[in-house]
Symmetry: C2
Subunit: 293 residues, 2 copies
């Protein structure tokens, strides 16, 4: 998938800022190397681009959204490193390369993940340090809540515990709304909060992001079931092999594809209150489901 | 070790707040249980009590220091869970009970640690949300910096990598100033920053905390070499068995004891500019080295 010019410009800004924040983190060279191996592995940077697109819905001014955008990518990257660990999903490949623990050993993978998670909060705290803008503390709270026990980590626990026995669609959606949805919602909410969105606008964007996150996960399950290892950059078919509950195991590939499209239509409908300033989010909502990796 | 009344009152407030913050974290019951197993295991709560003692050096007013105090304990607790993992220090006991991965399995221990680290930033972001006090963002930045790649996690990397070959005192102090010192300095600095300390006062307290942290580690190494498992609540003698570099391996028990006392005298000297309002820190500086567990 390629971004149109505005989103590609967002991606370039994120890419450059990620490198510069990583360089400022400091620490033992071996640790920084392991952090960079996972963080600077390219990728579409969908979450930070989404945050910047949500910020662009509102007039300019206030705090720079790049620190929060990069924080969400630091958090996403740490979660991939820890999820790949032998004790969790035990995946040897990620983005077409050995996963962190295969490359650096398990101890370093645990610590590189810990460091990326911690530095996510450092870069928001440091870049917004001393600000009287109420958005500064709000984005810290939003991001941490989304990544924490009632969000991403909690979802990973449910996904791990529930693996091996079938769950219904309601339970599956609850798991995914935590495991992958929470961080996507946080990206949109933080962008909006940094733009001093009204509570009505924030609610509409949150509802949109909820559908986008679910659609993203449904599309992910379809890809795992249908894509090649080359396209995916990781081992496909692992969900089924591990007895994971997915939308494909629940409803089959075709119905899952249709469901992702339906969710995307619902997400887009939530954006009707906004004008062309929300076009970035509109494009992303479609890209979330029309991707090949 | 017992606290005198003022510090005991601090400890009680911290203990109550930890339980109430944990209850507000939310998430799957199994995850919350694993978080609570490590977080609510008692202990002296030295870091949060130190933060409150540093706050007490300055006049009242401004933000409540309890969220920051509890955040430092959340972070300390997560670090113990991850350090005990088989891939790291591989310790089966902690505070006299099975360590988290022995009790809940490795996957849950990784995730419970991740959740505690994340919720540390949530509780600061949430409790200080919307505040215009510049201390709100500053404590987030300070705490994350201390816990991150150039601080606690970086120190753990050096400790792991360096284990097995001898290092000199300079290198050992650098490791410990990161691994255990950084969070102790952050506790003192955050307390002072919440009290709107002048830069001179902050510098004096930071220097004091640096000596206290080092003294704490030296005393820790002495305890590991001399205490019983019952006193310690964890396996003693592990440092030597694992070929760890410690002050005891470097200078022997007696000289290490004397060095801890010397560092404590230096720490106390940095407090000369403060009156009785710094008595809490003075008491803690002595307790850091005069402990049996």
């Amino acid at each position: 998938m390629g971004y149109p010019p505005m989103l590609e410009e967002f991606r370039r800004r994120v890419e450059a800022a990620l490198g510069s924040y990583l360089a400022r983190c400091g620490g033992p060279p071996g640790l920084v190397e392991a952090m960079g191996y996972s963080l600077m592995a390219g990728g579409k940077r969908m979450r930070p681009v989404l945050l910047l697109a949500a910020r662009a819905v509102f007039p300019p001014g206030g705090l720079d959204p790049l620190p929060a955008a990069c924080a969400v990518e630091f958090i996403h990257t740490y979660s991939l490193i820890h999820d790949d660990l032998p004790a969790l999903d035990d995946d040897d490949f990620r983005r077409g390369r050995p996963s962190s623990h295969k490359r650096f050993g398990e101890a370093m993978a645990v610590l590189a993940g810990d460091a990326l998670l911690t530095q996510a909060f450092w870069l928001m705290g440091e870049e917004y340090r001393g600000s009287a803008d109420p958005a500064a503390t709000a984005v810290v709270a939003e991001m941490a809540w989304a990544a924490g026990s009632a969000g991403m980590v909690g979802g990973q626990v449910l996904d791990t515990v529930e693996t091996g026995h079938a769950v219904g669609q309601g339970e599956l959606e609850r798991i995914h709304s935590m495991k992958t949805g929470a961080l996507i919602r946080a990206a949109v909410r933080c962008g909006a909060i940094l733009g001093h969105a009204s509570s009505d606008d924030l609610a509409a964007l949150t509802a949109c992001a909820g559908r986008m996150g679910l659609a993203f996960q449904v599309a992910d399950d379809v890809l795992d079931a249908t894509a090649t290892a080359e396209d995916l950059g990781k081992t496909p078919g692992k969900d089924e092999a591990q007895g994971k509950n997915t939308y494909v195991s629940l409803m089959g590939v075709e119905r899952a594809r249709a469901y992702a499209q339906e969710l995307t239509r619902e997400a887009l409908a939530r954006l009707d209150r906004f004008g062309p300033s929300a076009d970035g989010i509109r494009i992303l909502a479609r890209l979330f489901v029309d991707r090949t990796s």
